[in-house]
Amino acid sequence: MNLTLKIWRQKDASSKGQMVDYKVTDISEHMSFLEMMDVLNEQLINSGEEPVAFDHDCREGICGMCSMYINGEAHGPDRGVTTCQLHMRMFKDGDTITIEPFRAAAFPVIKDLVVDRTSFERIQQAGGYISVNTSGNTQDANALPISKHAADEAMDAATCIGCGACVATCKNSSAMLFVGAKVSQYALLPQGQVEAVDRVKNMVAQMDLEGFGNCTNTGACEIECPKGISLDNIARMNRELMKASVKG
């Protein structure tokens, strides 16, 4: 198929960017979206132009690096997929595809389609962990009985890959689905209880400090999340923070 691409080009973080049109031809419907971008970049390199910078790593939907806003949706029009898992069969011959970086004040553009998501790292560092003594006497995780229901819900929350699609999609650039998932995966398990109060307080405080917006429950994030993280995790985070605030 032949396509017209409208791509955000921005030289560096301090430059002003703009949308630039490109044509690509003979794109196979079996290609992934990133493979189509590789074809474009090869074309640009061969003609002596600067290739389009975009984040990617595993190309199997696990790393959470690919971060394009395609035709008005994070990771494009398909559901439950990252950009690397988006196939060109989702598009038609002759289509014009708009490709932009994830937008949020807390996700500044580094170059072209690459954004700085280290704000997520700082939120994780603020409390997204459990402190375990690993000096040779680590307890077997299976020694602690955990209900199937809690284990399943914690695992569902833990599937968040921190790609930032929730923030990119949210009209308020809120990170509450991400933080909700990270708080939930520990809140549901006994190992997470010891640091529960500090965890939710510190992670929410860091989230606010990073300049993410306030959730208004539109539910857009859970629809666009490649891992199907549920809005219930935000409600759980809200409960956790209320509990933590009462406990002091």
Partner: protein
């Protein structure tokens, strides 16, 4: 606990709590007004009670006004903060692919409701305050009978005013359609996302504004000149 209400989640919870209070008030307001459809006397009695009872006038009424002001001010504050958090806008954004129009435009339905409240205060609240507390007439009487029902009918003579009320109530329905379940979600109650609760929310969001629309239309069409 003061730190909690300074956090983004604390503000959400505060918005939700004021929303619960306002949603409860709407039920009371509709319950009183709906009596005007079938009993002039009952409507007059209830209006006189609400208008002269010290507990309603000096405790509930200030709390209600505070609740309304808080909900609006906090709504604007959050909207401004959210705008700041967005940064550069997308060249192409397909919001309809993942969320409802109501949920994305609460600020606009809210602004229409705010304009309506101003009109409603000019129509009913300011004249009441003038009659009762400036002119000092607490009797609720005019020409030997209660004035409330006649004042209500008189207000709805104007088709323009009825139209404005109907438009405002439609926007109120849209606001409630998202706001009802959203408030539950904000206070951490996932039950708001269960089918039964969503259905109840939809019934509430349609029934309350529809009740007010029926009252406005009824008195417009059945006024005694």
């Amino acid at each position: 606990m003061s730190g909690f209400f300074k956090s983004s989640i604390g503000r959400k919870v505060a918005m939700a709590l004021s929303a619960f209070f306002l949603m409860f008030f709407l039920i009371i307001h509709l319950a009183v007004n709906i009596t005007s459809l079938f009993s002039e006397d009952l409507f007059n009695e209830l209006s006189h009670f609400m208008g002269t009872n010290p507990l309603v006038q000096f405790a509930l009424q200030p709390v209600l006004i505070l609740g309304v002001v808080f909900h609006f001010v906090m709504g604007f504050v959050l909207e401004l903060k959210n705008k700041k958090a967005q940064g550069v806008s997308y060249a192409k954004n397909n919001g309809a692919a993942n969320s409802s129009w109501m949920s994305r435009n609460m600020i606009y339905s809210g602004l229409v409701i705010l304009a309506f409240i101003v009109l409603h205060f000019i129509d009913f609240w300011f004249p009441e305050i003038n009659t009762k507390y400036i002119q000092g007439d607490m009797s609720g009487m005019h020409d030997g009978s209660y004035r409330y029902f006649h004042e209500l009918q008189h207000k709805f003579l104007s088709p323009a005013r009825v139209a404005a009320y109907v438009v405002a109530f439609i926007l109120l329905a849209l606001h409630l359609l998202h706001g009802f379940t959203s408030a539950f979600q904000s206070v951490g109650v996932t039950a708001g996302r269960k089918k039964a609760m969503q259905t109840f929310g939809k019934i509430y969001a349609f029934a309350i504004p529809l009740g007010f629309i029926i009252i406005a239309l009824y008195h417009h069409l059945n006024h005694q000149s």
